[in-house]
Homo-oligomer: 438 residues x 2
Amino acid sequence: MTELTTVPKPTPTFPPVQTRAAATIAECRLLATMTEEPGRITRRYLTPPIAEVHKHLRTRMESLGMTVTVDVAGNLRGLWQPHPERLEKHLVIGSHIDTVPDAGAFDGVLGVVLALELVADAQVRTLPLAIEVIAFSEEEGVRFGVPFLGSRAVAGRFDHSLLELRDTDGVSLAQSIRDFGLNPGAIHEAQISEDAATFLEIHIEQGPVLDSERLPLAVVTAVAGQTRCEVTFTGQANHAGTTPMHLRRDALVAAAEWVVAVEKIATSPSQASASDQGLVATVGKLIIEPNAGNVVAGLVRATLDVRSAHDSARLEAVEQLLERAHIIATKRGLACEVRYKMDQPAVSMDEELTALLADSVEAAGFTARRMPSGAGHDAMVMATRVPTAMLFLRSPGGISHHPDEAVIEDDVAAALKAAGLFLQRMAAKLAIQSQSHQ
Amino acid sequence: MTELTTVPKPTPTFPPVQTRAAATIAECRLLATMTEEPGRITRRYLTPPIAEVHKHLRTRMESLGMTVTVDVAGNLRGLWQPHPERLEKHLVIGSHIDTVPDAGAFDGVLGVVLALELVADAQVRTLPLAIEVIAFSEEEGVRFGVPFLGSRAVAGRFDHSLLELRDTDGVSLAQSIRDFGLNPGAIHEAQISEDAATFLEIHIEQGPVLDSERLPLAVVTAVAGQTRCEVTFTGQANHAGTTPMHLRRDALVAAAEWVVAVEKIATSPSQASASDQGLVATVGKLIIEPNAGNVVAGLVRATLDVRSAHDSARLEAVEQLLERAHIIATKRGLACEVRYKMDQPAVSMDEELTALLADSVEAAGFTARRMPSGAGHDAMVMATRVPTAMLFLRSPGGISHHPDEAVIEDDVAAALKAAGLFLQRMAAKLAIQSQSHQ
């Protein structure tokens, strides 16, 4: 007969990663209830639900022992310092908490909630690592028509003229900052400290690549550069019944021929290598005049959106596409006019940091798929200030900016594992750097 | 030295044809000032400017000794009878006096003013010919969305359910007829008399064919049949930055590929003979969703308008075009849906009467270009009731339904000459028929 012995009391254990992944998703779903429009997720810059999210996240940050502030651009920032008595290099992790109208529950917010999970993780592992978590309050550009206002301020890329922007109600950006209880004149104070060593953003892919390849994670190599222009074909509007085919100067057929050519050129063998680097060319919008079933179209304005992680590939494609537009127009006796709307170079992620992130993904047991991001992110702005890396999570069905936007729990767990290992590696690296400087 | 003799007094002479052509154009310009919208020519069915035109034309008809009435459909009708004491077969000549919004000064009205010139001409030549001139008050279908209301009533093709149509102000067709002082219940009384032997319409071409061939006149062989349908391509809306080319189901590229194919099929060698008969195929309108520069289009609704004087050519072309739409959609993993909106057979002009008109054009010294009309006209409706012929005048630049719509004075003179000869031939023919019946 064995004697009853004292069973050791269970110490409060850190939950397993799968449980934390489920909690992360639940937290995102909870934050999604903080919205301007009941029944839809809409949370624009400096609106009341942004303050509500701040309040909720502040409680969480404080429970983690972080020092919490709202900077003058309205970004919520929490700093975890294992050794608050001494100044030291720290990691910055973050993403945005604003949304597009009728959004999903994960675009941006997921990266903020995961950042706090990583702080908790670092604390449990007693990593000698200071971490600043930033919840950028503006990324989508919905309220004032200009995106990345939060990260622009943090990266020191905020042009003061932006304060004059007005929302659809006529409220200026400066006024909206004042209304939020902040001082727009001190916007430079939002700039990140010199102690910020690196920036990491975790975000959903918002595209179908990982889903189509059945992979949970990707390491972002660059944010694609982008050219946007408007191509106008001007022919002659004519009666669809009385104008023989050979006497037409049909702007819609010309535009259509070009739309087909855009797809063909963007997918041609000569663009094959560029395609691996994510060259995409899109005509998404046509304005047709008069756009009537019984009138041959006289004028068509077509948008062109070309993106690539490689600026040379993008610029070559744009040149070729616009040349083709002119050739088609000339052949058909039409006029063709091009107006440039945007020409933004690609932004590469930091090579060393990206390699470290890829290494962490593989160490966690996953494929380190490298891919460019076709959409803009805060990481693109932060990369102009500090070495930056970015981790993508699979978007099921490639769906984003839509209520059906989702994440898979296993993928969130994978991101937690990989990013946790990344933090360990960063801690080791910063410790070595710190020693070598002492 | 010669004696001064009495110079014969000049008798009031009939002006030369060129003067009458100039007067015809001036008369059309005057009628163009009678409009619903100052500064623009807009004259819809049974609006006050229609009554103003009636008043003006009534005076002219009465000065020609015609018996003038407004029928229950609101058409102004003047009857010239050289021998009012006896019933006899008569010619009907006419066109419409309503206009599209912001119209030109000649579409329709020219044919009415010329008809009155022809009555004057017949009187001067003392042709033994009774002539009824009809100014149809509705042809364009602007006010009630259904065209040819005037000629439908005259031809006995007016369906009583049409009286329930409502304009954009909610006024029913029946009410608008009552408001004009007429009795909609008696619409059958507008039917043309059994004595009407033939119908002639003179109209501007409203297309570029005669202008491109430098010809003043054409004899219409048929009014083209017409198929209208809507083809919907449904793919998947996606982010233009994050969706690689090979993972797209772009509804706009599919529609564009089809628009190009529509032009190609309509101008292919296999359609060459049909093309001589005026086969035209037009995609004039696209509804694109979401129609945003940075979103791959998810859905496109395209109109298709196919016309030909030969029904078999039209139906074959439509079949081929819709088959192509399905092939393109299937190849791209899209859905394709077709909805038929209209399927109207071609209407041939009377062969004998058309030959007589062509003969008159040539006798007047001009080329008798034969061509189908791609647009609908009152002649199309009248042809279902009486032998009908139609004469086209060149439209400079092919421009119509536009304030720049014009006619050339020499062409109007040519039409007067040719139609005058046509009346002489008709008078001779009717006299022979009349004798043979006596």
